[in-house]
Amino acid sequence: MALSREQVAMRVAQELQDGYYVNLGIGIPTLVANYVPDDIEVMLQSENGLLGMGPYPTKAELDADMINAGKETVTAATGAAIFNSADSFAMIRGGHVDLTVLGAFEVDQNGNIASWMIPKKLIKGMGGAMDLVAGAKNIIVTMTHASKHGDSKLLEACSLPLTGVNCVKKIVTDLAVLEVKDGAFHLLERAPGVSVDEIISKTAGKLLVDGEVPEMVF
């Protein structure tokens, strides 16, 4: 069965390592913060200028001067740092952030990502996404494997305007975990109860399946 949003976030959380600085995008990536394993420490970077993002405030703690990149009120974790936008993007563009997790409309077999614009429909802007995909050492994309209409989002070549090129390394969808390398998607894991055939049928780009594909373990 396809994973829920929470299960996708739980699977991504397994990729976190002790000591990682991580930037989480809006949507499913934000949920990853809820599933950080107890035995490791990670620090969340919010690109508006906060390293060490804490939980949402209580009503009593609410402070208009303390927000995250999604413009939600937040708190600072113990040991947090606050800085200006140029320093924030020096961290991101300088390759100092260990992992970026973000959503996408489409990813293709060459690791290109389209996540910010649908011509004539959605023109809100890219925010920090282009900087994040150009700068992070490691990028994981979360998205549904196919659209509501059944169209694959894992393509031979993205059809929408790109956010970045040759940058996506790993994808966690509601059906599978895939690695992107050498011009193809490599199937690493499948969601419990989802067949390899279903994943093949919903992947439009080049998909390599090597031997037995294990189910995800939670």
Binding site: G49, P57, L62, K71, A86, S88, F89, M126, D131, L162
Partner: protein
Amino acid sequence: MAGFDKVVSSYEAAMEGLKDGDTIIAGGFGLCGIPEGLIKQIKHMQTKNLTVVSNNCGVDDFGLGILLQDKQIKKVVASYVGENALFEQQLLSGEIDVELTPQGTLAEKMRAGGAGIPAFYTATGYGTPVAEGKDVKEFNGRPYILEESITGEFAIVKAWKADRFGNLVFRHTAMNFNPMAATAGKITVAEVEEIVEPGELEPSQIHTPGIFVNRVIKGSFEKRIERVTTRD
């Protein structure tokens, strides 16, 4: 003799000299850390054909969004404008021009502009619509695009505290783009919550040195929150 005293006592004096066609660089992220009173003064002045450089363009009835109501803005340079229906409407009708710019590139355009650096290469945006028409150069085997920096006739910023010499301290994430914007204006105006005497701010704790700031005004702030999120 005013010496280094930058304090002005009216919004008229704070924005004196702003004229039609000027470029205004504004600090703020969403509605956090925006110079609310200076923006209202620009609306009051009814200055037209403005180019506004800011990460976002406010919401329909607050922040920079209020300058859209009377069509004072000709062009916006921003990374994200999704919070503003009026903006989208004017964009689709062709009344306003937008240059969507990656957030880090925007911060660097302001920083470089203020530092006298006319342009810089960045990997951000390579291979995307942002790169169209821009010079591409390889360094160590990786392609980068050339981005030009930005300066403006005016920069408007919001700080927590200022001393009379224009030294600024920001509070929490209300800092954001404000220090970059402050360096990039020919005339930089800081609207602050509190003005103190020189010597009261610890020199090593000052975020923006007064050399970048021309005018300081004590404002009063509504500090509207875009998304109130709590855990209780």
